[in-house]
């Protein structure tokens, strides 16, 4: 059974903030909450290497949300930017031009559009080269910064601006969400984890555990998105919680490829999660699309069946 060792109580989470308030991001951004929590472990001695996406607005001249460094690269090559920065720091330290005390952690920040699509080659390259870096994907399951278009992270039956529900496609998105966790895991990096901000102790613990490894440390953060998923910003904690409690967003880690689920939900029916969000409203109104909802439930059940068997 997976157990937290560093973070047992909520009071143990440091109060100091490393992502400063007053950003240009949407109210209720679940991704920002995940980053805020992650930064409590990562600290300020960090260079964030950013890919085009919502978080690009975290550093908008003349402001930045960080006391650490920032480099915006492109949508398709933030991991390669991380490679350049990490290598340069290593070379400068090895040549005595930079004291070791000046070293910083290199952290890629990319959304699901970048991570699942355009930067996949660049990520694969960094994983293959065993680059010593962190990768945080804030996954809001669509191209969010451009106004919620279909991405390969969009789940079946979610409505997006480019996968509307129609007579031909009453359930809207017909594809299943791409399994980026398994794509990453096929590269056997030392550490991969999924996190959700509504489970802060789980999240903090994973960043602490990751720090023990040299090499790629990959994080997939659920980023409940009031703007794109269409719910009230105040409901982000509830939506993020239900994503986990229905089993749709498994909390897990993979150390050198070996997967452990860090939280086993009792699994509420998926309707509880779907009903909260406007992007799934067409599944319930004007008529209930029973088949589509059952399909989602069956996929979740199929995912958890071997996991719960293992636990038992």
């Amino acid at each position: 059974m997976w157990q937290r060792e560093t973070f047992k109580k909520i009071k143990q989470i440091p109060r100091e903030e490393h992502v400063l308030p007053g950003t240009a991001l949407c109210a209720g951004c679940g991704g920002l909450e995940a980053l805020r929590l992650a930064a409590k472990v990562l600290g300020d001695h960090v260079v964030y290497v950013n890919a085009a996406g919502c978080f690009t607005m975290l550093a908008a001249y003349p402001y930045t949300s960080f006391k650490g460094s920032w480099l915006y690269t492109t949508m398709g090559s933030a991991p390669a930017g991380a490679q350049g920065v990490r290598d340069a720091l290593d070379v400068l330290i090895a040549k005595g031009r930079l004291p070791k005390s000046e070293d910083v952690k290199v952290v890629v920040l990319g959304g699901d559009g970048s991570t699942y699509d355009m930067a996949l080659s660049s990520t694969s390259g960094a994983l293959h080269r065993k680059l010593d870096f962190y990768y945080i994907c804030y996954d809001n399951e669509a191209y969010g910064n451009t106004g919620m278009q279909l991405s390969p992270a969009t789940p079946y039956a979610a409505r997006t601006a480019t996968s509307p529900c129609s007579v031909q496609h009453p359930a809207a998105t017909t594809q299943e969400k791409k399994d980026i966790f398994e794509i990453w895991r096929a590269h056997r990096p030392p550490y991969i984890a999924t996190v959700a901000p509504r489970y802060p102790l789980d999240l903090e613990e994973k960043f602490v555990r990751a720090a023990a490894f040299t090499g790629p440390k990959m994080f997939l953060a659920l980023s409940a998105c009031p703007t794109g998923w269409v719910y009230d910003p105040g409901e982000t904690p509830e939506v993020a919680k239900l994503a986990v409690e229905t089993g749709l967003w498994p909390l897990k880690e993979a150390i050198n490829g070996v997967v452990t689920h860090t939280y086993i939900p009792k699994r509420k029916p998926v309707e509880a999660y779907l009903k909260l969000q406007g992007r799934f409203r067409h599944l319930f109104e004007p008529t209930v699309q029973t088949d589509a909802i059952r399909h989602i439930q069956e996929r979740v059940d199929a995912y958890w069946q071997p996991v719960t068997k293992e636990q038992a």
């Binding site: 300020d44 001695h45 260079v47 290497v49 690009t56 607005m57 550093a59 908008a60 001249y61 930045t64 960080f66 006391k67 650490g68 460094s69 920032w70 480099l71 915006y72 690269t73 492109t74 398709g76 090559s77 933030a78 991991p79 390669a80 930017g81 991380a82 490679q83 350049g84 920065v85 290598d87 340069a88 720091l89 290593d90 070379v91 400068l92 040549k95 031009r97 930079l98 005390s101 000046e102 070293d103 910083v104 080659s121 660049s122 694969s124 390259g125 293959h128 080269r129």
Partner: protein, 408 residues
């Protein structure tokens, strides 16, 4: 100093080695590959104290190159053709980051149709990317230009990346005698890279490449890139004088060949200019007063040097080894623009397109260019764009079309 026979590619690798670079992200592409192969070997053997990393694409390669440069390392990389275009958006980022790295481009024509041989549509596509561009004619010039490129790029008045261009095949795979500069003298010419304002460190963080909102700040930063590129004209002059004093070789923004009393002038770039010079010699032997102007630095655009060289000529022909479809020659347009306000501008400015994808330019074609340019000068009427394509080439193409099954 002793000379060694080496290819343009090996000379480029020697340029990086003598510049004592720290970091080389690489990706193979013909005809550039020999450069990164040589550097990989030297890094492995410890001949060069740089980290060599095989990247997953040119797009990633250029991103890593720029990121390492702004982290404070001296960076070298190389590509060609499709690779340069695959990395295209990153070029603009690197100049915007003010990352003074050096990129060698080994010119190769662009698909489609896919080919390996040279023309300049690849490097000239990057003319607005904020990179400075030096186009080399000889293997020696490739090496020397890389050393000059680092000195100019890293100058605080410039702080911009540089492309050093050499022609695929004609220079990349051709051996010429190259004198290797003494490393101690290179260090006098090119001091170690110790930028005061670059780097991501714990004690002095910086945010780079950040978003701007609205045109005011965007325009400000891109204007800065332009003004810095213009500063490079003076910085190049200083570097050229210093290089000449130390190594005895002189490289200016443009090179004039037999221009003194020339009535008509042919304008070319890169290794093809060697053929042009031979054609000038042949025409001179027949009594024609012709010369050649080779554009060496293409960014910043050396407008004043071009005006000085072409002022008062009868006819001027720009031979572009590139094609802007629906327009003509890229360099022709730029030469024409900078002559507009010249009172003693040439009587005629002619445009010829030749040497696409490694296409040969024959002695007869050069002779025809000189004759037509002289006639145009006398008539006071420009010419072109003329697409060079000889009767022999047409016959060859007709045969190929018949083989391909078409009705030629």
């Amino acid at each position: 100093m002793d000379s060694q026979m080496m290819t343009g590619n090996l000379a480029a690798a020697w340029g990086a080695r003598l510049a004592d670079v720290d970091y080389i992200p690489a990706f193979p592409i013909t005809p550039q590959t020999e450069i990164v192969e040589a550097l990989a070997k030297w890094c492995e053997r410890g001949d060069l104290a740089a980290r060599f990393v095989s990247m997953d694409s040119e797009h990633s390669m250029m991103t890593a190159a720029g990121a390492a440069e702004v982290a404070g390392a001296r960076v070298f990389t190389a590509t060609s053709s499709q690779g340069l275009l695959h990395a295209f958006e990153v070029l603009y980022s690197i100049s915007g980051w003010r990352a003074p790295l050096v990129l060698v481009n080994v010119s190769r024509a662009l698909a489609a149709p896919i080919t390996l041989e040279s023309d300049h549509n690849d490097v000239l596509a990057a003319r607005d990317a904020g990179f400075l561009q030096i186009h080399a004619e000889t293997c020696q010039e490739v090496l020397d230009s890389i050393l000059m490129a680092y000195r100019i790029a890293e100058d605080e008045r410039v702080m911009l990346p540089v492309i050093v261009n050499l022609d695929g095949f004609t220079l990349s795979f051709t051996r010429e005698p190259v004198s290797l500069p003494d490393p101690d003298m290179v260090r006098r010419f090119l001091p170690p890279f110790r930028p005061s304002h670059l780097g991501f460190t714990a004690s002095s963080p910086q945010a780079l490449g950040v978003a701007v909102i609205g045109g005011t700040s965007y325009a400000y930063f891109r204007h800065q890139v332009h003004l810095a590129a213009r500063n490079a004209l003076e910085v190049h002059r200083e570097a050229a004088e210093s290089f000449h004093a130390l190594f005895g070789r002189r490289y200016d923004l443009v090179e004039g060949y037999r221009l003194e009393d020339a009535d008509d002038v042919l304008v070319m770039t890169n290794a093809g200019a060697s053929k042009g010079k031979a054609a000038v010699d042949a025409a001179r032997a027949q009594g024609q007063r012709v010369g050649l102007l080779r554009l060496r630095v293409v960014r910043p655009w050396p407008a004043e040097a071009i005006r000085q060289a072409l002022r008062g000529r009868r006819g001027v022909a720009v031979l572009d080894q590139n094609l802007a479809p629906g327009q003509g020659g890229i360099l022709y347009q730029e030469v024409a623009a900078c002559l507009y306000h010249e009172v003693l501008r040439p009587q005629a400015l002619c445009s010829f397109i030749g040497g696409l994808g490694g296409q040969n330019i024959s002695a007869g074609e050069f002779q025809a260019i000189f004759e037509q340019t002289a006639e145009a000068g006398v008539a006071g009427t420009g010419l072109g764009p003329v697409l060079l394509y000889s009767a022999e080439e047409h016959r060859e193409m007709t045969q190929l079309q018949m083989l391909a099954g078409g009705n030629a």
